[in-house]
Symmetry: C2
């Protein structure tokens, strides 16, 4: 015998299944005696309602799907943590899919989640995604969709992002104020809004301080592998950067290693700034200055918004664009300044 059902209880107690159902859910029209009778019996026999049956009836399961491009990754696992905690609190389950930065796997993940009939999906796009039909299909299926961090500008839906522009601007300004003038920007592909916004923050900070925007200092370099190619190359140039502003902490951390291996002092000769403020920043030597992205908070915010949509509680008009504030956390891989508090 696997699990006890409502029917079993009904039979055992000589009641109708409907009565048992009502009694379990404290329906007002049920006498106190029957109610306690039923509930006691249920507890004693460890009755567990069959969610599958419930979901089939209401054609709605309390499950939220999440698609992340990378799971072994401080930022995304922090976001997942936030999503998980908030979802659990609200009684939702989580189906997690991992696209592994691969467009095809992302498409398949969408299929899987739709087949599982999730009631909403949170997505952070893979780097290789350039077609958006699969996202459109989510909406066509009347399933709620919210992008976080790596948003897709081609689809009109709710989004949760950090203020990449401001975070970037502040970080670069900090580098400038601490005396750097040839600041390299190691970004991601330009079609990624997070990268594009950070590039604009970078350029505007340079402009504000009357520094030239040098295309040679701006590279696409968003993985450890690329960093191991790109950074040494830049350090072999005639004019070497005196600062690296990196798209993530992984690249930043490797950047510190490489700069030191070339004999440069960090931050004496070269400053390095990362993005995320993960635990990595604590174990590099020197400890790394980075822009905190508050991933945990972003995760919570994203589910909150999604659940509000699902339950029809969102009052804001049109598409919501939620902005999480970043915070520059100055540690030791950038120089000190009195100008900066």
């Amino acid at each position: 015998m696997g699990q006890i059902t409502l029917k079993d209880i009904a039979k055992a107690l000589n009641l109708a299944p409907s009565t048992v159902s009502r009694a379990m859910r404290n329906h007002p029209a049920i006498s106190k005696e029957t109610r306690t009778l039923v509930q006691d019996y249920a507890k004693e026999h460890k009755y567990k309602p069959n969610l599958l049956a419930l979901q089939l009836r209401t054609n709605k399961n309390n499950t939220i799907g999440v698609i992340v491009p990378e799971i072994v990754h401080y930022f995304f696992s922090s976001v997942l943590d936030g999503i998980q905690q908030e979802a659990e609190k609200e009684g939702y389950n989580l189906l997690i899919a991992h696209s592994n930065e691969d467009y095809k796997r992302e498409v398949r993940s969408v299929e899987t989640l739709l087949e599982a009939r999730v009631c909403g999906i949170l997505v952070s796009q893979s780097k290789t995604t350039e077609k958006f039909n699969h996202f459109q299909e989510i909406l066509d299926n009347k399933v709620h969709l919210i992008f976080f961090d790596r948003i897709c500008t081609g689809i009109n839906t709710d989004k949760v992002v950090v203020d990449d522009y401001v975070g970037s601007f502040n970080a670069v300004e900090h580098l400038i104020e601490t005396g750097c003038t040839r600041i390299a920007f190691l970004g991601s592909t330009p079609q990624m809004p997070i990268s594009n916004n950070r590039r604009m923050g970078y350029e505007d900070a340079l402009l504000k301080h009357k520094l030239p925007v040098d295309k040679d200092l701006m590279k696409i370099c968003d993985t450890v592998e690329m960093a191991k190619e790109v950074i040494p190359q830049m350090l072999k140039e005639e004019v070497v950067p005196d600062a690296f502003f990196c798209i993530n902490d992984e690249v930043g951390a490797i950047c510190i290693q490489i700069a030191k291996s070339f004999g440069y002092d960090v931050p004496g000769d070269i400053s390095v700034c990362g993005f995320t403020n993960s635990f990595l920043t604590e174990v590099t030597y020197p400890r790394m200055t980075s822009v905190d992205q508050h991933g945990f908070k972003m995760g919570k915010e994203a589910v909150r918004l999604l659940i509000n949509r699902i339950e029809g509680k969102e009052e804001r008009e049109g598409m919501v664009n939620s902005l999480i504030k970043t915070e520059l956390v100055v540690k030791e891989s950038t120089k000190c300044t009195r100008l900066h508090k």
Copy 2:
């Protein structure tokens, strides 16, 4: 109109639902014409089978539950990655719960997963868990249970672990062979088998090389917070360790930082060895020697075993105890030796 159903197709094509059902699944008794007719119509109208209905019928959902104690963590996210990839390949979905090293959340996670009627559960125990009724309940519900890494010795079930003893023994022997004689062991609480096995590997390596086992060198220190307390304290003692063998890379990485902040050279004065061989080992300075735990592989192995149990394909008698081999990866936080290849 939300989703199209079998019935809808049947009505539109003037067929019985059962015929449509059979046609969709290439039942041999269905004529080629009807089959293609049905399948074309289904494809055109984007028919998606309702998994909930299917699962209700078979009283079996193809969902596997996972409970991890920590999600923002290189090792566990690697394991999750392995679990995810293998499960997806086999057509299983994943329900992930996060106990956050908290016994009560772990118990609740078990409840949630059982209510969701998962067909199997993978667990790595929280540090604070000392009662096992909730695990027993999983078995009582006839749901397959497999422990990985942080196993529970109080429950008789399948397990997947790394050879902590051997991994530890080899690491400590490497430290000894490179000239260390006062090797500190930073472990976890003794009731955790992984910690206990590593402690035994540690002690046996010392004994083999005729070094004393000094209780003062063995501390419980398995988090960054504890490391920041315990390690400075040990470095202030009269006799300072000349090596730290740490239970995980986080503690190891922080250990390197602290040792350097005390003015010690790593590995000149003090060697440090971690456990996991995460990305952290690449960004510490010097890069950290560590024992690779092959988390990804462990994840795959654990799901494989679980799925075999679920599908009744496991031939091995009794409870399986799967052992993943570790591998000492020597980098720069331990000294060189000719003895060690």
